[in-house]
Each structure stands twice: as structure tokens, then as C-alpha cells.
Symmetry: C3
Subunit: 247 residues, 3 copies
């Protein structure tokens, strides 16, 4: 799975992709991204430490992915915090067919025009009806929208799922949001139903997080255990332990 | 807390910032650094893998931080090892008001003109009176100067503290020096007395390191435990376990 | 040891270098790479996330290393996956004297003209006589060639060693291949016999991997234990536990 992503959590994204059974590739040189993405099951675009060169590579890789019907996942990290991030997120959404948009409450709220608040890369909350905002934004973009939070909200504009899996400690470790986008990409690359794939991805990482929280003593050991537990997930676990409601 | 930092230890810096209660943001695109820093409690500039574009972003972010009285922490990684690093460190010190300069013995020795030796990013030692060198350098720059080592030396040019917390194994893990600068930034962002803040930061990470050393079996488990122990620190621990002397 | 490397596994490379007793430096600014490499025991060039600027820095650092007889290790990550990677690997091999080429089966197979298959950064296998391909490629390049795999093959064109140390779980953690190149660099920097150095490096990391696999529960705890076990290796262990055959 091809990532064009930030240099903060890139190693976590590579490892969680391996844990979930995918084959991560990180490549952003404009000379090679088309060729690299052509072999990928999915493309994850994460603007966590974007710069203008990287955005050009994202557009080039994204267009090739679109041409080949390879699903593109966008994580608009920090959209709303700076004009550049909001504009880049919207430019990628305008120029590319994005299969799944995955952000936190603030990011999705800003992009959806629903008044989300973002400070740095953290959501400062979103007022109003979360499920409604996500559903309408999915409808208007034609993408699956995943809004991560204490309860994750996932919608294709018609059907909306609420996922209660996960653990609060995930918010105290850098990279869990980016990792969620990578897991969404891995599932999207192997399941044509992107609503199901995105929901299963959030459920899976959430279950692994719940288990990791039980055996860990703080953010360091939690992160280590999150990789172990993600790799140890069985297909049966996901069905059995999913906390999914209709929204 | 906004970082413009190297791509080697950036993930460690993000996680230690979370562990100590801060909200890390890494962003270095020249188009957005002013806006990003305007929301931050502190700005950490770390030249561990500097390049010419990044230096321009550091200057732009630093000027905006200065304008808003947001404290700027400089970690002059490898100053003395190459001309570029020494010159960039001095240029940042000349163009910006730096609240805290945090380096190892070699780096501070070189910048202070006191004959430090640096090889790569490692201190090769500093002859002479450490406390005197730090005090004079703090006086001449108007910054708090933190020289990390077996005994950390911290001075504002008048008062000098020596911190004996910490553990030798911290030197065998990549990133502990960078993490110390992030923790200094987090404390500086929430305490107007920067001498106290810097000292408390070094004490805190040192105590966490002492505890982590007790439960770990090598550099891998030490690093994991360092995050756990930093997150588990109680305000009371810091006062009770601090090994601070006047220098 | 100076690395010009990718931003995915760079932290792992720094830490494994420390674990094996080396002093890692990562620096890629064209203004400073000559000066930085002049102090180094070895130079590791890893094209995992290459871009055109970085390639220029690799050439500049490599030429200075050659001038000073500092060994240069090349890890041609993803050669064969994209034209750019294959071309850059071959350009570095043409313009620089490379002491050790270390790649997976697919990468070495492609570069040797022996029909390796690479997808992303993963080997998709190599048909034919591995030892023969490695030996001939070493002969034609004048470099030590290390082909990592379930059995590692190492040759100087005359003598060929097969190393059976290691554990399958190493393939499910991002960065173990890059770390192997760093360990080769560390050994090459302190042993003039580069065939012996490269073999000892693979044996050492392999033994650490075997031990780490015994105490870990998944990829997260394995990676942590790999650092611990590498740092805990004794010279005696390597001789005693090596699984080396003539190929």
C-alpha cells in the first residue's frame, strides 16, 4: 500500500500496515510516484507535514490511482489549523476522486463547513449532530467519510455507522489517527465495499487498542502492545467484539 | 507546541510532548509556519537534520513567535561538527530572541567559544569550568542556557543550577537529547520563569529516566519505559526526587 | 557512522547503530555532507525514500568517502520497483566505489540482471542459483554483495558465505532490512576485511533476532527486544551461535 505521508508517524504507519497484513511503501519523489502507485492496492495521502512539492506528488499519484481505480484515502491532518492545510485538503478533494476521507472531529467539521475547531493537529471539538454532518458531507463529496473520535462516525451518505470500539489512551499516543488511515487503506485495498471496509478498519484498530490498554502501563508500552494486538487479530474477533450501531 | 525539527527523532519528540501533557505539532512548510506557531505555547527549533529551506521556515516561525512573546527553544544539534550547523545556530541566535538554548557539552562549548568538541552529533567533551562557561554564555546571549550531560548545567547568567537526575543509559538511546528540548519547550510554554521551567524539565525527564532504567533490560525497553514513566510523573515526584544544586 | 537514508526507518537505523556500539549521524544537506562524512567510520546510502536532491548529496558524500577510503554501504531499497530507483542505484554504483551492496533477493536480482522481482520495497523472489548470482555480481562490481533473505548470501566474488541466523518475524517489522545495512556499516567501519565484517554483521543481527523472537509476543514487542538483544550481544555469542556455511 502506497503512502505519501508525514515524517512524524510514517514508521508507525508502515508497521501498522504490516501488522494488518498489508505491504507498506512510502515514496514521494514526483519522478516515481505514478509507477509506484500502479502496483499498490490503495493510496493513502496524509498531509501531516505537507509541503508544496509533496502536494504535487500527491496529485500525480492520486490521478494515476484514479485512472487505475485504486482507492485513495485522504487524511486531512490539521485542516482548519492553517489556511494551507485547509486549501490543500480541498484541492486534493477537488482534483482527485477520494474514496475515503478520514479525519478527526475538528478536521471533518471544518471541511464539511460545519464549524469544527482545530488547533495544531488536534480537534478542539465540533458542535452539532455528528452523524448528520458526516452523512451530509459524504453525500456532497461522494466519498466515504470517517470521523474518528470517542465514537467514530462512518457514512457513505446513505448508511451511517457508529463505532464505539477503542480506548481513551489512543489519544495520548502520537500516530494513532494516522495509523487508522493506514488501516482503512489496507482494508479498502482488499474490499470493494468501502463503507464496510472503513468500518471494519476502525473496529479492528479499536479492538486492538482495547486489548493493548489492558496490558500496558503507559503510552510507551501501549504503543508497543497496539502493534502486537493488531497483528494478533483474528477475523473472528472483529465480528465478535465489534461495537457498531446504526447512526 | 510547535516543533521544526529533524526527521530522526521527531516521533520521539511528539510522544514525549504528549507524555508531559503538551500538544505536539510538527510543521515546517514556509507557507504555514507563522500561522501554526501563532497557536502554540512554545516553539522548538532543532537543527538535527537541517537544510536551507528548513532554516528559512525556522526564521519565519521564530520571528512570529518573538512578536507574540511565545518562548523559542533552540537545540543546536551538531553545532561544531560542521560549519553549516555552527553558522545556522549562530544565525538563529542573531536573528531571533531565543528563550532557551539547550545543547550537549560540545555544542554549548563551541557556541560559547569555550572550546567544545563535537563529532557528528555527539559531544567529545568540554574542558574547563562548565558552570562558568554556561553562566557567561547565558549572560552574553540573554538566553537561558541548558548544557546537558552527566550533570546538567542550567543558567540565566546570574543563577546557575546543576541537575544530577538522569541515567547513563539515556546516552545509548537516540533522541533523549531532542526529547529533553521538547520537554523544556513544554515547561517553558506554561511557566513564565524560564530558569525554573528549564530546570524542572531536566529534572522531570531525569527522574523518568532513572525509573525507566530500573525496569528495563536494554535500550529498546528503556525507551518504551521512558515514555511510560514520563507520563506517570506526578508534580510531587519532581519536588521530592529532584537532585538540584546551586552551581 | 554517517547515514543518508530514508525518513521511514531512520530512527531504527540510529538506534541499532547505537546498540551495536556505533555513533549514528544522519545528515543530508548538500552544504555539509562532505564535512560530516569526513569524520565518519562508514557511510550508509539508503534510497528508501529518495528524491533528486538527496541523490546529489549521496554522490557528494560518497565521493568524499571514497577519497578518504571510508567504506560506503549501499542499500538499493526498491530497486526494480521503479525506474528511478533502479537508475539511481546504478548511478551510485557507477560514480562511487561501493564497498558493500546490501539488498533483498529481488533488489539484488534486478541489479545483477538476474531477473529479480520487486514490488514496492518487497522482494517478490528471485529464480535461479542465489549464491551464483551474488558471486557473479560481486565479481562484476568489485563490491561485497549481501543478499538478505531466509538464508543470507554474502560474497566478494571469490568466497561466498551463507548465513542461516535470523527469524521469520523480522520480515513482519518495518526497518529490519535497513537496520541490517546500518549494522553492516558499523562493522565495515571497524574491520578492514569487509567480507568478514558483512558476514559478522548479518550473523549478529540474526542472533539478536532469534533471541528477540523468543521473548516477544508480536511485531511491537519483537522490535523492542531486537534493540535490547543487539545491545546485549557479546563477542563470544557471535562466534558460538553463528550459522555460517560456505556457498
Amino acid at each position: 500500500m502506497h503512502h505519501i505521508t508525514n515524517y512524524v508517524t510514517v514508521n508507525d504507519c508502515a508497521n501498522i500496515t504490516l501488522c494488518i497484513g498489508g505491504a507498506p511503501v512510502m515514496a514521494d519523489a514526483i519522478e516515481e510516484v505514478e509507477e509506484m502507485v500502479s502496483m499498490a492496492g490503495a493510496l493513502v495521502l496524509n498531509i501531516g507535514t505537507l509541503n508544496s512539492l509533496q502536494v504535487e506528488s500527491m496529485l500525480k499519484a492520486g490521478k494515476e490511482a484514479n485512472r487505475r481505480s485504486i482507492p485513495v484515502v485522504l487524511d486531512p491532518v490539521g485542516a482548519g489549523a492553517t489556511k494551507m492545510r485547509t486549501e490543500v485538503a480541498n484541492r486534493l478533494l477537488e482534483k482527485l476522486k477520494i474514496a475515503v476521507i478520514k479525519g478527526n472531529e475538528g478536521e471533518i467539521g471544518v471541511l464539511a463547513g460545519g464549524g469544527g475547531k482545530v488547533r495544531g493537529v488536534d480537534s478542539m471539538g465540533l458542535d452539532g449532530d455528528h452523524a448528520g454532518i458526516v452523512r451530509e458531507y459524504a453525500k456532497s463529496t461522494g466519498s466515504i467519510v470517517v470521523m474518528s473520535g470517542a465514537t467514530d462516525v462512518i457514512s457513505d451518505g446513505r448508511t451511517t455507522y457508529l463505532v464505539d470500539n477503542g480506548h481513551a489512551v489512543m489519544g495520548s499516543v502520537s500516530g494513532t489517527g494516522c495509523m487508522a488511515s493506514s488501516v482503512v487503506g489496507a482494508f479498502a485495498g482488499s474490499n470493494e465495499n468501502l463503507l464496510t471496509a472503513s468500518t471494519a478498519a476502525l473496529v479492528s484498530l479499536g479492538i486492538a487498542g482495547e486489548r493493548a490498554a489492558k496490558t500496558s502501563k503507559g503510552p510507551g508500552s501501549f504503543k508497543m502492545a497496539l502493534f502486537d494486538e493488531t497483528a494478533a487479530l483474528l477475523p473472528d474477533d472483529v465480528g465478535r467484539l465489534a461495537k457498531v450501531r446504526r447512526g
